[in-house]
């Protein structure tokens, strides 16, 4: 362990004995059965990350096909019907199966480590959330491969997605994919909030939490209040299609704009749900690269919280073209511009942190610099389209496609790649190659700009979104070809990243515990972390948990090592409050998720899914709640100690 590692350093022999005991208690079975029954946040977090990245690649392949089709005018590679499915599945994948789950996954893996906990709160629910998410992803792609992929865009507007204009089951696949992913996201949010509130190591008061943890907390609250809107909207749509309700049917008093309001009340916060965790990642990377605490910590926290609040006040700017009252237009224009303030504050704080330091220009830091450039471009065009008159001109054109990709790829995916390079050593114990990483960064940065910058011009020239082809006379061919070359460049950069990962896993340089000299507790344990996370739960003495540790390195003592006993602390000051027993590995989350899957997939075809699935889910959750003999005896023992 390095000098800053979390260890009592009192007696190496005693530490070794403790390690053996904890390992015996917390180690999970290996092999396929062990994988299916795991409740370890690291195991679930890793598979979440890998699965979300696999969906990123699948979503990218959809995009690649679209770009190939648009590379030249009147191309015939992809027909209009398949093209509709491709852009719908691309957006649905990137938003619901990649971006939100990936950001949640990073929280599931790193929040417990950063707050000094042995596991996430509600470990079984965590596993359940993953399986439900996986079922949702498989459903979407089973739909696409059977020519039943969603066809009305990622925001699935009615009446296009309603029973009249979308017969068959395509929009039902969308609705239930959303249901699955929202269940998973809400579960992840509750776990992350409770882990942060109740599992922080003693001494880590709210004012000492790492900025990444703050970002995850704000995001989790946003998920809690935003996700029910789209889940309810998609349920209403599913009911309109299955049991003939009339929420979105104007002929019987329904309203198509109701969908837009419900969707965007979720949809705009969604952007920040993706973006805010990325801000947290940037802060951790900048801090490690400069070896300084981030300048203006309280302001940074307030900026994150302000972003979270303001994110809910902007949804109507997606609906300027629907005839919003003038006062509403003014309000939402002002709110849309106002959100640039907290983002700007954070950028200035990072600049101030870097200003007097000598940053190490490692790959994670390069991605941070790339993020600043790309996100500022996306932010500027965001302020432009916050103006109603400008928005009316470019609404539904490629200008919007350019803007949203600069924001999402620049604001979230770029820092995410930086985060991968930054935390890969912690997860695997090996460094990614710096040389390959620099190539990856250069190609990715170039590719994003080549792909999306020309789209601003295409939009201004009138090229609308979601068209499967265009005429040569429009003159859009050259810029589209350039965008397609850019997309190929991005694909090449991602392939290079995968090569880098494979190479490092096989023969990468061993990283050690804290290769970047990071300040947070995750860097204080070994790489990869042991099954129990920390040999000793640390007592936190300052905002930078590792940098502020005194030589005696105080720790928590008295937790049982023969069972999954964890510490519960108070919300504000993280004072030790009680001991809690976490469950051991179990197959119940998987069974409950399968019951949930059967319920919602059956509901695509028949309302009988409700009673049948309800009975299955009840059986699964009752079995889950009923303690088996082993866990009963263990809990009895803990309660009597």
């Amino acid at each position: 362990m390095t000098e800053t590692s979390v260890s009592s350093r009192v007696d190496p022999a005693a530490d070794e004995r403790l390690h053996q005991e904890l390992e015996r208690t917390w180690h999970e079975r290996t092999g396929f059965w062990g994988w299916l029954t795991s409740v370890d946040h690291k195991s679930i977090g890793k598979r979440y990350i890998v699965t979300a990245f696999a969906f990123f690649i699948l979503g990218g392949l959809n995009a690649a096909l679209m770009r190939a089709q648009l590379a030249r005018p009147e191309n015939t590679l992809v027909g209009p019907d398949l093209y509709n499915q491709l852009f719908s599945v691309h957006g649905t994948t990137m938003m619901f199966l990649f971006a939100v789950p990936m950001m949640t996954a990073m929280g599931i893996y790193f929040v417990p480590l950063m707050v000094g906990a042995r596991n996430i709160a509600y470990p079984r629910l965590n596993a359940y959330g993953y399986y439900v998410y996986l079922i949702g992803g498989i459903l979407l792609y089973a739909g696409l491969f059977t020519n039943t992929g969603p066809e009305a865009g990622w925001f699935n507007y009615v009446p296009l997605a309603g029973p009249e204009f979308s017969p068959g089951k395509r929009s039902d696949v969308y609705a239930q994919t959303v249901t699955f992913t929202e269940i998973a996201a809400i579960i992840g949010a509750v776990e992350i909030i409770v882990t942060i509130f109740k599992h922080r190591a003693p001494g880590m008061s709210l004012g000492r939490m790492p900025l990444f943890v703050w970002a995850q907390l704000v995001t989790a609250f946003m998920i809690l209040f935003a996700m029910p809107w789209v889940a309810t909207a998609s349920l209403m749509l599913a009911m309109d299609r299955l049991i003939a309700t009339h929420f979105f049917n104007p002929a019987e008093g329904g309203d198509t704009l109701l969908w837009q309001h419900l969707f965007w009340f979720f949809g705009h916060p969604e952007v920040y749900i993706i973006f805010v965790p990325a801000l947290g990642m940037v802060s951790q990377i900048v801090s490690a690269a400069t070896r300084r605490e981030i300048f203006g910590y309280p302001v940074m926290v307030l900026a994150l919280v302000m972003t979270g609040f303001l994110g809910f006040g902007l949804w109507v700017h997606h609906m300027f073209a629907t005839g919003v009252p003038q006062l509403g237009q003014s309000f939402f224009t002002a709110a849309s511009m106002m959100i640039a303030i907290p983002s700007g504050v954070q950028i200035f704080c990072w600049i101030a942190t870097i200003w007097a330091a000598r940053p190490r220009f490692t790959v994670p830091f390069l991605f941070v610099l790339g993020f600043v450039v790309l996100f500022i471009i996306g932010g500027f065009t965001g302020v432009m389209i916050a103006s109603v008159s400008y928005d009316q001109q470019v609404h539904d054109t490629y200008f919007i496609v350019a803007h949203l990709h600069y924001v999402l790829l620049g604001g979230a995916v770029t820092p995410l790649f930086g985060a991968f390079y930054f935390w890969f050593p912690k997860i695997t114990g090996r460094m990614l190659s710096e040389a390959l990483g620099r190539c990856h960064f250069a190609l990715f940065f170039l590719g994003v700009n080549l792909t999306f910058f020309p789209m601003h011009q295409l939009g201004l020239e009138g090229m609308t979104r979601r068209v499967y082809t265009y005429l040569a006379e429009t003159g859009w061919g050259d810029l589209n070809l350039l965008a397609t070359i850019g997309a190929a460049t991005i694909a090449l950069s991602v392939a290079l990243f995968l090569v880098n990962v494979a190479r490092s896993l096989a023969a990468g340089e061993v990283s050690g515990d804290n290769p970047w000299d990071g300040e947070t507790l995750d860097w204080g344990t070994s790489s990869p972390p042991p099954s129990y996370n920390f040999l000793h739960i640390p007592v936190v003495q300052g905002r930078s948990a590792l940098w502020s540790r005194t030589p005696d390195k105080p720790v928590v003592t008295g937790l049982r090592t023969d069972m999954h006993e964890v510490l519960v602390t108070t919300l504000m000051d993280a004072r030790p409050d009680s001991r809690h027993l976490h469950p051991r590995s179990t197959v119940m989350p998987l069974l409950a998720a399968l019951a949930t899957g059967v319920t919602f997939i059956t509901l695509i075809f028949t309302p009988w899914g409700l009673p049948v699935g309800g009975a299955l889910m009840t059986a699964a959750f009752v079995a889950w709640a009923w303690p088996d003999r082993e866990s009963y005896e263990e809990q009895r023992l803990q309660e009597s100690s």
């Binding site: 001494g203 105080p554 959750f621 009923w626 303690p627 100690s641």
Partner: protein
Amino acid sequence: MSTANVDVSSLPTTTFSHRSLAWWGTLGFMVVEGTTLFIAVVAYFYLSRNYQTWPPEHIVQPSLLWPTVQVVLLLASLVPTVLADRAAYRIDLVKLRQWLFVTLVFELASVAVRWQEFLSLNVRWDTNAYGSSAWTLVGFHTTLLLADVIETAVLIALLFSKRRLDRHYSDATDVTFYWYFLVATWIPIYVIVYLGPRFM
């Protein structure tokens, strides 16, 4: 500044209310479910703007008898719920079993009355947007009601079983906490769906 090691071996293993992890989970799901009910209310009022009258022409006002019975029943159910809650805090197993069982009887009665409440809407879910939004609002609450009945029944079974643990006292207070939430959310739904159309 140096700090001493922290010995936690004497901390309790069973805690109540905001000190318990399960309480926070319950609160989290209340927030989500409360938001969902709020969205259904938003949809109800949003769709009402599409009509001159609400309920729409030729649709009978909702009947008040059974929904009012339900409100009385739910308010009365608070008595055994509060008593069960207090018994759990006192770690009084006999009283807890007794009052939780009475709470379950009230819950089951509430489910039975709920069926009559659907019929009291005097409109089908597929008649028009009014019927869809009213049925959905009552339906969402019913889903939560059924979930709570199952949860209460399982907890009672655990309290009578050999697998009973100290933490089940804390779980019992979470079940009662959730029941308060269901009663509290039903009152505005009653006012909006059953009384509201008389004033709109």
